[in-house]
C-alpha cells in the first residue's frame, strides 16, 4: 500500500443494485500515476468497482453505495460534490469504442466545448490526437465521420477525447476486449505512455495484459452470498510482478494458475 501517494482511497466500500450485492467491504489504495489493474473472474464486480471511482454508477437506478471513496483526499460521494465535475476530472474509456456520431474533430472537441475550456480549440484537439498516437493517421481527415475509423483507431479516438478535457485520472473498462491483436498492442503501448502523466485504472479479464502493462494489480474474488448471488471481495493487492509470481491468497493462486494456462 502507498498511502502517501494514493490517488484513490477506497474504504469499506460495498455496492448493491436494488438490494442485490455486487461488491462487499473493499478497502484499497490506488497510487498516483502508473497503471493499476483490477482483475478477477466474472461476477467479481470489477466494472462496478471502476464505475464507483467516477460516479458513473449514479446512472443506475437503485444503486446503493456504502463506505468511502476519495480521490486526492476528497470524498467523491460527499454532499457538496458535483458528479459532472468528478467525471470531467476522472475520465473513462469503455469496452467498445463509443465514438459520437460526428466528425473526428468534433469528437475530440466535444469536452473542451462543453466546459468552455480556455485555449485554442484546434490546438487542444491536435495535442490530444498527438498524445493518443492518432494524429499522423487522421490529420488530413479531421472532418471525416468518426465511424469510418477502424475499431482500434476509434478506441484511440475515445482516449484522445478523454485526454482533451485534461483529466487527472483515466478509468479503462476492458479497453481492448473488442480489438484485434495488432490494435490491442497499439492501445497497450498508448496506455503505458500515458501512465507517465495520468493515474490509470484498468479493468481487464486478460491477465497477460495486466502483467504486461500494470504496475499494481488488485485481485477481486467472486464469492457466493447466502442467497446465491455472486459478489466481489478484495482478495489481494500488490505490485503486479509480486502478485503474479508469488501470490499470497489461495484464490489468487488458483485464478492465476487457471487463467494463464
Amino acid at each position: 500500500m502507498l498511502p502517501a501517494a494514493s490517488a484513490f482511497e477506497i474504504r469499506e466500500l460495498s455496492v448493491s443494485y436494488s438490494g442485490v450485492p455486487a461488491l462487499s467491504d473493499i478497502s484499497l489504495d490506488i497510487p498516483e500515476r502508473g497503471v493499476s489493474a483490477i482483475i478477477g473472474p466474472s461476477g467479481s464486480g470489477k466494472s462496478t468497482l471502476l464505475r464507483t471511482l467516477n460516479r458513473m454508477n449514479d446512472l443506475v437506478e437503485g444503486v446503493r453505495i456504502e463506505g468511502r471513496v476519495a480521490f486526492r483526499g476528497r470524498d467523491l460521494y460527499g454532499p457538496d460534490v458535483d458528479p459532472t465535475q468528478i467525471r470531467r476530472q476522472i475520465g473513462m474509456v469503455f469496452q467498445k469504442p463509443n465514438v459520437f456520431p460526428r466528425s473526428i474533430y468534433d469528437n475530440v472537441a466535444y469536452g473542451p466545448r462543453l466546459h468552455h475550456q480556455p485555449g485554442n480549440l484546434d490546438e487542444i484537439v491536435r495535442e490530444a490526437l498527438v498524445r493518443s498516437g492518432l494524429w499522423e493517421e487522421v490529420k488530413h481527415d479531421l472532418k471525416q465521420h468518426a465511424m469510418t475509423l477502424s475499431g482500434g483507431q476509434q478506441q484511440r479516438l475515445v482516449i484522445a477525447r478523454c485526454i482533451a478535457v485534461a483529466p487527472a485520472a483515466i478509468l479503462m473498462d476492458e479497453p481492448t476486449s473488442s480489438l484485434d491483436p495488432l490494435a490491442t498492442v497499439r492501445v497497450e503501448e498508448l496506455i503505458s505512455e500515458l501512465a507517465a502523466d495520468y493515474t490509470i485504472v484498468l479493468v481487464t479479464h486478460n491477465l497477460r495484459q495486466a502483467s504486461r502493462i500494470a504496475d499494481w494489480t488488485a485481485f477481486l474474488a467472486a464469492e457466493r452470498s447466502a442467497s446465491g448471488v455472486l459478489h466481489g471481495r478484495l482478495a489481494e493487492v500488490g505490485p503486479t510482478s509480486q502478485l503474479f509470481t508469488a501470490p499470497v491468497d489461495q484464490r489468487t493462486k488458483r485464478f492465476i494458475a487457471e487463467s494463464m494456462d
Binding site: 443494485y17 436494488s18 442485490v20 455486487a22 478477477g40 466474472s42 461476477g43 467479481s44 464486480g45 470489477k46 466494472s47 462496478t48 464505475r51 467516477n54 458513473m56 454508477n57 446512472l59 443506475v60 437506478e61 437503485g62 459532472t84 465535475q85 467525471r87 470531467r88 475520465g91 473513462m92 469503455f94 469496452q95 467498445k96 463509443n98 465514438v99 459520437f100 456520431p101 466535444y110 469536452g111 462543453l114 466546459h115 475515445v158 477525447r161 478523454c162 478535457v165 473498462d173 476492458e174 479493468v203 479479464h205 466481489g232
Partner: protein, 240 residues
Amino acid sequence: MLLLAAALGAMTLGGLSYRGEMLVAALRALVQLILVALVIAWIFTHPQWAFVYLAVMLGAAAYTANRRIGGDSHDRLGVLLAILMGASATVVIVALTGALSFSAQTLLPFSAQMIGGAMTTASLAGLRLRDDVKDQFPIFEGYVALGATYRQAGREFAHRAAEKSLFPTLDQTKSAGLVTLPGAFVGMLLGGAAPVLAVQIQLLVLIGLLLVQSITALLTTRLISPIDANFSVAQISGPS
C-alpha cells in the same frame, strides 16, 4: 356501437392485444364527449369561462402525455410548458391576425385542437428521445463520462427525436385530401358547410398544427429528463 363491436371483433380475429384498452377508450370518449358538448354549450353563453376550460384541458394533456412517456413530476412540468408554448404561439398568431374571429365559438375549438395535437407530439417526442437514448446508451454514457449532465448528454439526442416525432404530422399534411380527408374538413362538410370554407379552416388547422408540434417537439425533448427511472442493472454493467 356497431362500429365498436366490429373493431373489437377485428382485433379478436387478428389476435391483437389492447382490446380492453380500446373498449375503455371508446366508452371514455362517449362519456367525455357528451360532457364536453354540455360544457362547451354552456361556455359559449359564458365565454369568460373559456380560459378555465382550456387550463383544465392543458393539465389533462400534460398529464396524459407525461404518463405515456413514463416521466416524473419534473418531466410533467416540462411537458406542460412544451404543450402550452406550442399551442399558445399558434392561437395568439391566429387571433392577432384575425384568421379566426375573436370569439369563444371559434377560438375555443381551435385551441382545443392545437392542445390535442401538442399532446400527441409531446408523447411521441418524449418516447422517441428515451428510446433513442436507451438504444444508444453507450454513446449517452460517453457524453456523461466527459462531464456532461444528463440533460446536456440528452441534448445530443433531442434534435433527432424532435424531427422524428414530426413525421406523422408532415405525412398527414402532405397527404391531406389525397390519402385522407382530415377531421375538421370532414366535420364541416358533414355539418353542411361549403367545401371552400371547409378547406380554409382545415388549412388553418393543419398549418397551425405544424407550428404547434414543431415548438412542442423541440421543447419536450429539451425539457424532460432523457433517462427514465426504470433503468436496469443489465443495461449498464458490462461483464465484470
